[in-house]
C-alpha cells in the first residue's frame, strides 16, 4: 500500500485552525482598461452642450488605488448653476412638457439600452475613479443602473395608476446631489424617476467621483435627449449649496451624510421647495442561534465589506445571540482571511480602495477611537498594496452600546460585534440609534422574522440576506436616515405633486 492511504489527521485540539495561507494563490487578473478613454479634462454639461466653467476653474480627481491623478473636472459656480437651472426650466416648460409621456419613457428606455451596451466601460471607469472592486461595479452597480432606467421608463405613461384618487403632476426643476459611494447608481436613482415623472434636472455628482456622470452626459447626448432636460454640473460642497439655494429650483433630492442632510433641510427652511433625503445609517444585524450560520456569516461579509463599507445601509453592527457568538466570530474571522484586498481592477478583488484620502483618514481615526475605547481589534492578514488608500477588513469586539464606534457611522470596512440574550434585547439595541435605514435579521423561524421585522424601526429589513437592491424595491430611512423613498412605486412620490 502506498503512503497516501495513511490517515494523517490533524491534532484534535481546540486550537486546530484552518490555514488559508494557500499553497495555491490566484495570479493577478486585471480587467483591461484599453477600451476606455479618459479625457484630460471634463467640462460642464448644460443645455445639451459641454461648456467651460464661468470662472475657468478645474479640480482634479485621483484614482484612490494609486493616489495618482486621473483627470480634471470643471468647477461650477453660481453663474454656471444659474445657467443650468435656466436651461432645465426652459426644457421643463418647453419641449419636455410637450412630449407624450410614452415618448419620455422611450428616452429612458433608450438610455437603459445604451448603458447596457457600454456596461463594461462604465464599470471600469467606476472602479478607476472610486476604488470599488470591478466585480461589484460590473456585477452590481452598472446592471442595477440599467435596470433602474428600465423600471422607471415604464412608469412614464402609467403614473395615474400609482396614485389612487389623485392626479400626479411633475414638480418642475429638480436639483439633485449625489454621493461618492455608488456614483452612477445614485445618478440613476435620481434621474430615472425624475424624468419619468416629467421633471427636468440639474445634477451634481460628488467631487471625488464625477467621471461616470460625465460619461453619462455623453451618453445622454448620444441618446438624443432634448437639451436642458439633464444638466450635469461638477464641483464640491459650494457648488451643491448653489443648487440647494437656487430660487428657481422646485425640489432638492440629496443622498449623503446626515450632517449635510440637516444643513440642506435648514437651508430650505421657510421655502416651498420639496425635498427628499437619503442619509446615513448604522445598520444592525441580529443573528439568532437558530439561524443558518454559514449563510449568516456570508451575509455579514456582504453587509459590511461590500464596497469597502462605503454603504449608507451597511450592516456595521453585529448583534449575535450569546450561545452562538463564539462560533459566528470564529467563522467570520476565517472567512475574512479569504477576502482579497487590493487593486480594484483585479477581477478577484473583494475589497478595493477607500474612496479618498479624506475618508481613509476618517476610518483610521475611528479605528483609533475604538481601540482607545477598549475594543479588541481583528484584521485580515492580507497584504495591502504599497500605494493608494487601503484598509484591512476589521472587526471590533469587546465594544458596548455607548462606544462611539457603535453609535457613529464609520463608512468603512469596520464591524462592531455585540451579543444579546433575548429577542427584546436585540431589538432594543438595534433600534437604539438616531438612524433608521436598514437592519438585518437571521433566523430559520418565519414567525420570528415577521415579529422582529415589525419591531425594527428602519426602512429596509433584510431577513436572511443583506445589501440587496432592486429598482422595484423602495429604499430609504426612518428618523435621521432621511425623508422619502427611492425605488419602486413609492419612489415616484418624491417627483410628483398630487392634485
Amino acid at each position: 500500500m502506498s503512503e497516501t492511504t495513511e490517515t494523517t489527521y490533524k491534532p484534535t485540539s481546540p486550537n486546530s485552525k484552518l490555514d488559508f495561507a494557500s499553497v495555491w494563490e490566484y495570479d493577478p487578473a486585471p480587467e483591461s482598461t484599453d477600451h476606455v478613454e479618459v479625457k484630460e479634462k471634463y467640462e460642464l454639461f448644460i443645455d445639451g452642450k459641454f461648456v467651460k466653467p464661468s470662472k475657468g476653474r478645474y479640480f482634479s480627481t485621483t484614482n484612490p488605488a494609486t493616489g495618482k491623478k486621473l483627470t480634471e473636472f470643471a468647477e461650477a459656480t453660481q453663474k454656471d448653476i444659474d445657467k443650468a437651472v435656466k436651461s432645465a426650466r426652459k426644457a421643463f416648460e418647453g419641449e419636455w412638457s410637450e412630449l407624450a409621456p410614452k415618448t419620455r419613457g422611450k428616452y429612458l428606455f433608450r438610455i437603459a439600452r445604451m448603458l447596457q451596451e457600454r456596461a463594461r466601460e462604465f464599470a471600469v471607469l467606476e472602479s478607476m475613479d472610486g476604488g470599488k472592486p470591478i466585480r461589484e461595479s460590473r456585477d452590481v452597480d452598472i446592471p442595477l443602473v440599467a435596470a433602474h432606467f428600465f423600471y422607471y421608463a415604464g412608469w412614464a405613461d402609467k403614473l395615474e395608476y400609482a396614485f389612487p384618487g389623485k392626479t400626479p403632476e411633475p414638480i418642475g426643476v429638480c436639483g439633485q446631489i449625489i454621493p461618492w459611494n455608488f456614483p452612477l447608481l445614485m445618478l440613476a436613482w435620481k434621474i430615472a424617476p425624475a424624468l419619468a415623472c416629467g421633471n427636468t434636472v440639474v445634477l451634481k455628482p460628488a467631487e471625488t467621483t464625477s467621471l461616470t456622470a460625465m460619461k453619462f452626459a455623453e451618453l445622454v447626448k448620444d441618446a438624443g435627449v432634448p437639451d436642458g432636460v439633464i444638466n450635469i454640473v461638477t464641483g464640491a460642497g459650494q457648488t451643491g449649496a448653489e443648487i440647494v439655494n437656487h430660487k428657481d429650483i422646485d425640489k432638492i433630492a440629496f443622498t449623503g451624510s446626515t450632517r449635510v442632510g440637516k444643513i440642506i433641510q435648514q437651508s430650505l427652511a421657510g421655502t416651498d421647495k420639496r425635498y427628499s433625503l437619503e442619509l446615513g445609517g448604522k445598520g444592525a444585524m441580529i443573528i439568532f442561534e437558530d439561524a443558518p450560520i454559514d449563510q449568516a456569516v456570508e451575509g455579514i461579509i456582504n453587509a459590511i465589506f461590500f464596497n469597502q463599507g462605503h454603504v449608507c445601509c451597511a450592516g456595521s453592527r453585529l448583534i449575535v445571540q450569546e450561545s452562538v457568538a463564539d462560533k459566528v466570530v470564529q467563522k467570520l474571522k476565517d472567512r475574512m482571511q479569504t477576502l482579497v484586498v487590493g487593486d480594484p481592477l483585479d477581477k478577484n478583488t473583494d475589497v478595493g480602495a477607500i474612496n479618498s484620502e479624506n475618508q481613509f483618514n476618517t476610518v483610521n481615526k475611528y479605528l483609533e477611537i475604538g481601540i482607545n475605547e477598549g475594543a479588541d481589534i481583528y484584521q485580515c492578514d492580507c497584504e495591502l498594496p504599497a500605494d493608494g488608500y487601503f484598509i484591512r477588513p476589521t472587526l471590533l469586539t469587546n465594544v458596548s452600546q455607548s462606544n462611539r464606534v457603535v453609535q457613529e457611522e464609520i463608512f468603512g470596512p469596520v464591524l462592531t460585534i455585540q451579543t444579546f440574550r433575548t429577542a427584546d434585547e436585540a431589538i432594543t439595541k438595534a433600534n437604539n440609534t438616531p438612524y433608521g435605514l436598514a437592519n438585518g435579521v437571521w433566523t430559520d423561524k418565519g414567525s420570528k422574522i415577521f415579529k422582529i421585522g415589525s419591531k425594527l424601526r428602519s426602512g429596509v429589513v433584510w431577513a436572511n440576506t443583506y445589501n440587496k437592491f432592486d429598482p422595484t424595491s423602495p429604499f430609504g430611512g426612518y428618523k435621521e436616515s432621511g425623508v422619502g423613498r427611492e425605488g419602486g412605486l413609492q419612489g415616484l412620490s418624491a417627483y410628483v405633486n398630487l392634485k
Binding site: 422595484t472 419602486g488 413609492q490
Partner: protein, 288 residues
C-alpha cells in the same frame, strides 16, 4: 322648585390619559362671541409639552402594535361617543359664534370624519403597500409603518372639525400625537379629549394641550423625540423658517397642510394617513 346654579366645567388638558392642569399653574381667559368669560383655559408650558411627548412615546409601541381592525374599532367608538355628546359640542360651538345649523353641521362632519378614517385603518396598507417583483430569488414587500410621535397644531379657525381632521388620520395610522388646540377656541378640544378618554383610546395616544402657539411652536419643532410636525395654519415667514430649521435637528418630517376649508373635498383622503407613514421594505429568500 329652587333655582339650579349651573356647575361650570373646569377645562384641563389631556396628557397620558389623565386631565392634569398645566404644571405652570398659568391660565388664559376664553371668551364667548359676546365677549363674556366662559372659562379659564390652561396655558400650557414647554414642560407640559415635554410630559405629553413622553406620554406619546410610551404609548407608541403599544398603539402601533394594535391590529388595524382594532384601531378602526376604536376610531369608530370615538365617533359613537361623540354622537352621544353632540349637544355639548354644539353648545360649545354656538357659544363661540357658530349658528345652530353650523354647529350641528360641524359635529356631523367631525363624526363622519372619524368614521371615514376608522374605515381606512385596515385598507391603507392594502392600497399603499406593495409586493415588489425583484429580479432575484427573494420575496419583497413594502408595508406602511407609523412614523412615531407626531406633534401638531390644530387649526385656530376650525376648533372641532379641524382638530378631528388632524388627529384622526395620525392615530388611524398607528402614530401617537401631541396636539395644540385652537388657541382662541380651546374648550371644545377638551370635550373631545373627554370623548377620547371614554372611547378605549389608550392613554397617551392623543395628548391635547391648550395654550399659545407663539410660546410652544419652537418646542414642538425642536423636540428631538418628535418624529413629525404638522402645521395647518400658515405661519409667518419668520416662524415658518424657524420651525423648519428646528425640525432639521432630527430630520423631523414637516407636514404642511394649509387648509382653510375643512369641509372641502381635499380635506380628507388617505394621503393624510400616509403623510405620517414610513415605508418599510422587507426582503426574504425564497428557497427550500
Amino acid at each position: 322648585m329652587s333655582e339650579h346654579l349651573e356647575i361650570l366645567k373646569t377645562y384641563k388638558m389631556y396628557i397620558g390619559g389623565a386631565f392634569p392642569r398645566t404644571e405652570s399653574g398659568r391660565f388664559y381667559k376664553v371668551f364667548n362671541n359676546e365677549d363674556e368669560l366662559i372659562a379659564n383655559a390652561c396655558l400650557a408650558s414647554r414642560k407640559d409639552f415635554r410630559n405629553a411627548v413622553e406620554s406619546a412615546r410610551s404609548a407608541f409601541s403599544g398603539w402601533n402594535g394594535r391590529n388595524a381592525y382594532n384601531r378602526g374599532q376604536i376610531l369608530y367608538r370615538i365617533a359613537e361617543m361623540m354622537e352621544s355628546r353632540r349637544n355639548e359640542f354644539e353648545k360649545e360651538l354656538t357659544a363661540i359664534g357658530f349658528t345652530t345649523n353650523e354647529a350641528r353641521a360641524d359635529v356631523n362632519a367631525s363624526i363622519d370624519r372619524l368614521i371615514y378614517y376608522a374605515g381606512w385603518t385596515d385598507k391603507y396598507q392594502q392600497v399603499f403597500g406593495s409586493v415588489n417583483p425583484v429580479a432575484s430569488s427573494h420575496f419583497n414587500f413594502s408595508l406602511m409603518d407609523a412614523t412615531g410621535v407626531v406633534a401638531a397644531f390644530a387649526p385656530d379657525a376650525s376648533p372641532l372639525l379641524g382638530l378631528v381632521s388632524v388627529v384622526a388620520p395620525i392615530i388611524a395610522g398607528g402614530n401617537t400625537c401631541v396636539v395644540l388646540a385652537s388657541e382662541p377656541y380651546p374648550l371644545v378640544s377638551i370635550t373631545f379629549a373627554e370623548v377620547l378618554n371614554s372611547s378605549d383610546v389608550p392613554g397617551g395616544v392623543v395628548n391635547i394641550l391648550t395654550g399659545k402657539k407663539e410660546e410652544l411652536a419652537e418646542h414642538f419643532a425642536g423636540h428631538m423625540d418628535v418624529n413629525a410636525l404638522m402645521i395647518t395654519d400658515k405661519p409667518s415667514s419668520e416662524l415658518h423658517k424657524k420651525l423648519d430649521e428646528l425640525a432639521s435637528e432630527n430630520v423631523k418630517r414637516m407636514v404642511k397642510k394649509f387648509i382653510t376649508d375643512w369641509y372641502a373635498k381635499d380635506a380628507q383622503d388617505p394621503y393624510f394617513i400616509t403623510d405620517f407613514q414610513e415605508t418599510k421594505t422587507t426582503w426574504h429568500p425564497v428557497g427550500f
